[in-house]
Symmetry: C2
Subunit: 410 residues, 2 copies
DNA sequence: TTTTAATAATTCAATTTGATTTATTTATTG
DNA sequence: CAATAAATAAATCAAATTGAATTATTAAAA
């Protein structure tokens, strides 16, 4: 039965890979608490009886859990709802001030530090622009920015900060060529562990994740996640990236690069196989503009201030849409996603045009045997990456996550 | 924050999609029991202390669980292992006779009914060939075959049958054209629910799953699953199909079609975008042989009796490998699979040549930004689909499955 | 060769945790 | 006032953990 297993490619293979660890009572409680909070978050507000029905837990269990969460300040009771037979129900909702967390977004032209509350509102914010990102500069921006923001909080509020989540492109050094940053300068990112560096200079827990994956996470918690249990997310930035949600959970994979989407093979307009990121990225539009003697700078001032560049923009949109349509069909035949979510560093009217073009292009492909996912626009907006970063510490402490139940077996 | 969510494509969208239900004590126990059995299965045999270390559960808990499983006849104790300091350990292994289950494979030219034991050995077997599969014939074969096999078992053994698992291609009627079956006859599969029909005529629980997904499941439990926590699986039959394993669990997706892989977009030799199944399927080889005036029948007698057709076979292998290489790279940029497993309805030497050709072809693609999965041969062999079918009832009752912990909230 | 120490596997008994069950109270509509 | 639904208190039950004890073995010292 288990005769031979092929000789494998290059990497070494673990002898036997164990499934997750065991479950116990304490973990069940932690899991159920997170479940309750996730349900409340999803629906805005729910009564204890509602939660009991939706979770399948007994009313008493839910009552105990929710009273504890209320006592901890995580939940707040709303005004009793009358008008139906029986005792009025008391809707419970998340206390926006229960938990804060920092989100950092590192971009090609700018860097953001935001303080987000428990329901996803940005409360405080710092912004810095740069010609190209440098490790030392970014590090100071973060570790000096944090106390700067904290001076605007009370002692009590500072105690409710869950941590710092950094959303950054991976392998920053490989940007150099296309973005015009000096190669030697960018090479300094190699071997520089930003997470460790920040962690060494703040007492908050620090988490780091790919920027597109983070934006995807923001969409899961605060955007389309409530409507779609699984989706593939594309974030069109300087380079296109993405993320994946399965069973209402961010799936980042064994190596953390699931949903990278950039290297997806698509056919270009000449029918040649090509990587998706060589077509559906903003740097391509930038080059297109330069070729036509147009100054591409307006692309970088602010995502909301693009001007309509006319023909080159339309050309780029068409090529991008054709490539994304293929990518969506391919991904749908691997995982039956219920939606493909499109967002990026551009204004809403560009996103709208891209989505419309993708829908059109997808309709023209051979769809036999595939169920085409709903192709929709992202709902979170320009700060998706920073918000996704900020939600990392929330994920790790308050949001539903199957892994809460199982022990680490290291 | 949650302003607009795009207008969606065609399908209707649920208002809010809830996460899974709550967890409780009984379910924790059920989960831990399955975990113990999965660990024992993976490793062949393990002592209680080994299980405690690997699961993170306390020694006492493991002791209680395993004694109960032994009492139920699911586990057997082996000979004490001496030679190390301390009390000798008692290796526990699965009792092969603890549970039996039926597996059905419906194929283009034949149908199999097997009785599998708890460790994946086929104990009894029926085989039937046909020009093309017809609902009534298949149904009689199954419901008459079951009592036929059961007459060879003792009363006691019959009581230990977990159920029937059917592995079948979906949408059988859409085969007609390429396989030369009469279109009207195949149309009878439309609206025929084989699962219900079988369930109505046997007292065993009946489960059904796509044939390629089933083969993938067999590979997970009895094949390469122990070495790779996540992989994409390709089964090259009349039409190529596949399956997906994530976190050591079969992922079949919302609609059950995850891992269908057939509609994956790849470039054909002329650079045109084409569906994978139009290139990497055995019916293509069949047509190739016919074009050259060669009788393709040897393809269908038995998977192990192919003859070397020379040039047309080599051509098909090269085209198939080129297409699969692209499919693997695309899938790896969506999910960072650790392996791509190749199997199909052909002899081992063909599989070997295909895998070698894929490795070569993959090396020639643009791999920037992707980690190429190990490309390996399937380890289970010709009966993978039937074995995968038979393991469905095992999955549903004895194998680890995160869902065991959570309530159905319907 | 005998004795003693160390170690590992296993199990027993008591404790703790947390969900469920049952019964009760409260607030509302019709 | 009857019916109904929400919420909760007390008692019960299931299962994992903790700490201690038992058993079987090897390794090393006398």
């Amino acid at each position: 039965m288990t005769s031979q297993a092929g000789s494998g490619g290059a990497s070494t293979v673990p002898d036997v890979f164990d499934p997750g660890g065991g479950a116990n009572l304490t973990r069940v409680r932690a899991y159920n608490e997170r479940l309750v909070m996730s349900l409340v978050r999803r629906h805005g507000s729910l009564s204890k009886a509602d939660i009991a029905r939706r979770s399948g837990l007994s009313a008493q269990t839910v009552s105990v859990i929710m009273r504890a969460l209320e006592k901890d300040g995580l939940l707040m009771r709303g005004d009793p709802v009358r008008g139906r037979v029986g005792q009025p129900s008391i809707p419970m909702r998340l206390n926006p001030d229960a938990v804060y967390s920092y989100g950092v977004k590192i971009g090609r032209r700018s860097c953001d530090l935001v303080l987000m509350d428990f329901v996803g509102n940005i409360r405080l914010q710092l912004h810095q622009t740069h010609a190209y990102p440098m490790p030392e500069e970014i590090l100071s921006f973060i570790v000096e920015g944090i106390p700067k923001l904290e001076r605007m909080l009370t002692e009590e509020q500072r105690g409710r900060i869950a941590g710092v989540g950094i959303a950054t492109p991976f392998q920053l050094w490989s940007w150099a060529e296309e973005t015009g940053a000096p190669r030697e300068a960018m090479a300094r990112w190699r071997g520089f562990d930003l997470r460790d560096a920040v962690a060494a200079r703040t007492h908050h827990p620090v988490l780091m994740q790919n920027d597109a994956t983070s934006a995807c996470g923001a969409e899961l918690i605060f955007g389309v996640g409530a409507s779609y249990p699984d989706f593939i997310y594309f974030y069109i930035g300087s380079f296109i990236g993405g993320g994946i949600v399965l069973n209402s959970a961010l799936f980042s994979g064994r190596s953390g690069t699931a949903g990278a989407v950039g290297p997806l093979q698509v056919s270009d307009r000449n029918g040649k196989p090509q990587q998706l990121l060589k077509i559906a990225s903003i740097f391509v539009l930038e080059n297109l503009l330069r070729e036509r003697g147009i100054d591409p700078k307006p692309l970088w001032y602010s995502a909301d201030e693009w001007i309509d560049f006319g023909e080159p923009l339309e050309t780029w949109i068409q090529l991008t849409a054709a490539a994304l349509a293929q990518a969506i069909v391919s991904s749908a035949s691997i995982i039956d996603f219920s939606a493909a979510v499109i967002d990026g560093g551009f204004p809403g009217w560009v996103r709208e045009r891209i989505v419309a073009a993708i829908r059109k292009a997808a309709g023209e492909l051979d769809l036999e045997g595939v169920i085409l996912p709903d192709i929709i626009e992202g709902a979170v907006g320009a700060q998706a990456r920073a918000i996704g970063g900020a939600s990392l510490p929330l994920f790790s402490r308050y949001l539903i996550d199957t892994n809460v139940l199982f022990k680490e077996t290291a």
